[in-house]
Symmetry: C2
Subunit: 167 residues, 2 copies
């Protein structure tokens, strides 16, 4: 895959735009901003919806108790819940996309792990021209403990980053 | 003046876009990004070049010595230098703008004070739809002491913020 370049394409050249989506209203608003401002009917852009699932250790730890071993039923139920969540977020994002009659290819990428690292790595791997994301995504507790995902991406993603706040 | 709204305009509605410019290559690159990606020939947008001069206390302190009183000649020479700098940055930004044959009104605003506060206040006062800026603007020492201006604006500016890094 082409590596992300922090360089400019000429006007009218097709762009690869990654929008980081999650369960929040804000990320859907960021997607709307992107469709309103970064796409044009004259250019065939590609919009990549990126959802990052938390790593299993984090998603399980909130239920965890010392010495407790999860049964395979519990683990498969949690995996199903995680899949359902991905599907719900993607469907919601697709509904937002469908409202804009735009000349845009849609792709979907689901990552797994620490959101800020996965987003920056994916942007680079996909050769993205722009990353669009909400300001407060990926959960209050993670932000409080680890700092803001959007702060990190604004610094380290290898392309321009648009940070959108929910009104 | 209309207050900045963190809401979406319909596609084709005219936009007010603030680009924070300074002496850096990166801010000129941010301006190019803006002209390539956020303006369209079909829409009459307004691009506002915002330059923030440091407050006098900061610009003078690097020359200052305890007990030293500046003569009026020194002060007026420093004021002239500051005006020349504003003029040089604005001229450079206008040259970048002129390279893009775009349907964009150009306005210039010069602020004075702490860059991050002045940028956020100006965005709000001007009713801006988008703020575009470099990642590392407004000097190494100020960043090291006070944190990044772009970090602050990404969090507190009342509109979507685009952070552009120089390649």
């Amino acid at each position: 895959m082409e590596a992300a370049k922090n360089s400019l394409k000429a006007k009218g050249e097709s762009q690869r735009i990654v929008v980081a989506v999650d369960e929040s209203e804000e990320s859907m608003f960021a997607l709307q901003w992107c469709l309103s401002n970064l796409t044009s009917p004259d250019t065939k852009n590609t919009l990549i919806l990126l959802y990052v699932k938390p790593p299993p250790a984090i998603s399980i730890s909130s239920f965890d108790a010392p010495g407790y071993v999860f049964s395979s039923e519990v683990i498969s139920a949690m995996e199903k819940q995680s899949k359902d969540l991905v599907s719900a977020v993607m469907k919601r994002a697709e509904a937002v996309y469908a409202k804009f009659s735009s000349n845009v290819n849609l792709e979907r990428v689901v990552g797994k792990g620490d959101a800020k690292n996965v987003i920056c790595r994916t942007v680079e791997k996909l050769g993205a021209d722009t990353l669009v994301m909400g300001c407060h995504g990926y959960g209050f507790f993670q932000r409080a403990l680890l700092g803001s995902v959007s702060d990190y991406c604004a610094k380290y993603a290898k392309c321009p980053v648009v940070i959108v706040k929910h009104p």
